[in-house]
Amino acid sequence: MSAESGASGGLTEYIQHHLTHNTSASGIHIDSWVTALVLGLLFCFWFWSMARRATAGVPSKGQAFVEMVVEFVDGQVKDVFHGNRAFIAPLALTIFMWVFFMNAMDLLPLDLIGIGVQTIAGEEAAHHTYWRIVPTADLNTTFAMSTVVFLLTIFYSIKAKGGWGFTKELFTAPFHAHGVGAKAALALPNFALNIVEYLSKPVSLAMRLFGNMYGGELVFMLIAGLAVSWVTFLPGVIFNAAWAIFHILIILLQAFIFMVLTVVYLAMAHEHH
């Protein structure tokens, strides 16, 4: 990217260029989709190859790391979910590692793709290449994941309580009443509260992850865009390094929170009243 030394028009244009998605003709964000797919396949292939070569003797370093992650996630699931973990634990592992990989793309240098395209195809092509490299900084990705979690909670609720039990509980919890009149009166407030509770979970899950990643990316862009002259090069490097170190913690924390909240919501949906 050509260096605009501090002129605010250049900074706005720089940031807006880096915030633009690469969309297909029908509006799908191709960059988020492809990056998420590649990272998901990378995670699956890595863990599958480690599991295939697993030995009961002294493990290799890769196998030890994979075992550590699997045991950590299994411990978290076991703490919260008291049922058959055969589906929930791999789901939690996938969510944790996939979200962590997608978040970790934020640590790559901002202009990496731009410089690559520039060296291959020249500056004009680099000006027209848009690629957002962090899929979880795209609201569509996070909402897609939280919608799947939401559908899973409904599925597990119906599985635990039965279709009729689930519908009945929508209208009779949390305010319980005895007597037909009181029950009919409380049905609507109960239903409203249940709708709010059910809808707030996926929305908060998605917005929390998106907000953290989008904010992190925006601060990286601002530091890169503001410290772009030779005078401010060293302070820019220091600020970038400090924010990146803090962001490593945020990445891990957000992946962990997404996983734990998924497991907690599924456990709450699975229990009988």
Binding site: T12, R208, N212, G215, F256
Partner: protein, 88 residues
């Protein structure tokens, strides 16, 4: 011209309020939670690893609303859609 100045000024004030009030809430929340954690760690040091894991989880949850507000405020500060919606 006055419309543009008005939209820009209101956006700037709104962004400042969002970030400031959100930060105030998040910091007070983390402060209260941290003080309770330290208190219970001093009372029962053998529980510290478990409490620390829960504390990080809660810190992420407390920061969530603030960072969502921060992202929205930055979005309005950088690429203001209200400004681009003005008829040319």
């Amino acid at each position: 011209m006055e419309f543009i100045a008005q939209i820009q000024s209101f956006t700037a004030i709104a962004a400042g309020l969002i970030i400031g009030l959100g930060a105030m809430g998040a910091c007070i929340g983390i402060g209260i939670m941290g003080s309770k954690f330290l208190e219970s760690a001093a009372r029962q040091p053998e529980l510290v690893p478990m409490l620390q894991a829960r504390m990080f989880l809660l810190a992420g949850l407390i920061d969530a609303a603030f960072i969502i507000g921060l992202a929205i405020a930055m979005f309005f500060a950088i690429a203001n859609p209200l400004l681009t919606a003005l008829p040319k």
